[in-house]
Subunit: 227 residues, 2 copies
Amino acid sequence: MRDVFHHELDQLAERLQAMTGLVGVAMGSATRALLEADLRLAESVIADDAQVDEAQRDLDERAVQILARQSPVATDLRVVVASLRMSSSLERMGDLARHVAALARLRYPRHAIPDSLRGTFAEMGDIGQRIAVKAGQVIATRDLELAAELERDDDALDALHRRTFQVLSSVEWAEAADTTADVALASRYFERFGDHAISVARRVNFLVTGEYAPGTHSPGPELEPIG
Amino acid sequence: MRDVFHHELDQLAERLQAMTGLVGVAMGSATRALLEADLRLAESVIADDAQVDEAQRDLDERAVQILARQSPVATDLRVVVASLRMSSSLERMGDLARHVAALARLRYPRHAIPDSLRGTFAEMGDIGQRIAVKAGQVIATRDLELAAELERDDDALDALHRRTFQVLSSVEWAEAADTTADVALASRYFERFGDHAISVARRVNFLVTGEYAPGTHSPGPELEPIG
C-alpha cells in the first residue's frame, strides 16, 4: 500500500513537471508571436492553453483522490496540498502566456511592442522560458541550489520590468497611448509569470526544509507594482 | 466526533467570510487613496495587507489540520479543498487592493488617475467592494441566486475596464505615458479583483451543484486582456 501511495505522489510530481514544460513552451511561443506579430502562432498559444487547464483539472482530481483514499498525514499530506497550490500557479502561468499571445492577436497586423523595446521583451521571454524549465527541475529534483538560481533569474526579470517602465516614463518615449498600455500590461505579464514560478520553487523549498522562504505568499517585487 | 468536524468546517467558512470583509474594506480604502491621492490611507492599506496574508496562512493551516485529523471524504473533502482554493483567491484580492494603494503612493503628491477617469474608477471601486461583500454572503449562505448576481456585477466591472481602454485609445487622450501606464495597470487590478471574487463564487456553486460553472479555472474576460 505504501508503495502504491508513493508511486501516486511521484506521478503528481511528474505531472507538475509536465505542466512546467507546457507553460514554458507557451511563453516562448507567445513571446515570438508578440515580437513577430505572428497571428497564427498567437492563436495556437491561445488554443493550447486549454491543455494546461485540463492538466490542472486532472492533477487536482488525482490529488483529491489521493486525499480520499490514502488519508495521508504529516509530510505526505503537505506534499499533496503543495501540489494543489503548485498546479494553481502553473495554470496562472499558462494564462499569462495566453494574455501575451492575446495582445499580439489584438494588435495584428501591427506590432504591439515598438522596436525600441523588442530586445527587452525578447530577453524577458528567454528568462521566462528558462524559469519554467528550472521550476520543473526543482519539482523533479528538489534541488535547493537550483531554486536559489531561479530566484536570481526572477530578479533579472524584475529588473527588465523596471527598465521597461523607465523607458515608458522617459522624455524620448513618443508612442501612442494604446502602445504604452500594451507595453505596461505585457511587461507585467512577464513579471507575474516569474513570480508564479518562484512561488512553485518556494513551495518545494518548504517541503524540503519545513520553512517558508520569506514572502512565500506574495513572491516578487509586488509592493511597488511599477518602478 | 462528527459534530466537532462540522463545527470545524463551519469555522473555515466563517474565516473565509472574514477574509472577504478584509479585502472589501482594503479595496474601498485603496480606491479612495487612489482618487484622493491620500498617502496615509495608501500606506495603511499596504500595511494591513499583512493581516490578509496572516488570515490565509491561519486558514490553510486549519484546513491541513482537518485533513490530517479527520481524513474527510466525498463532499466534506471537497469543502476543505475548496477552502484552500478560496483562501488563495482572497489573498490575491488583498494583493490587488495593495497594488492599487501602491500606485497612489508611487505618484503622491500627484493624482495617479486623471480627472477624466475619476468617475470610472470610483465606480470600479464601488463594484469591487460590493463584489467582496457578496462573495462573503455566497460563502455563508451558498445562495446561488446571489452567486449569479455577482457574475452580473463582474460584467459591469469588465465593461468599465473596457471603457477605460477605449478612453486611453481615443484621440482626446493626451495624458503622459506614465499616467497611461498607471491607468492601464489600475484598471487591470480592479478587473482581476472581480475575477477572483467570481472564482470564489463558482467554487461555492461547484460545492452545491457538483458542476463546474463554465470557465471555473479562468474566470472573467481574460482572453482579450484589453478591449
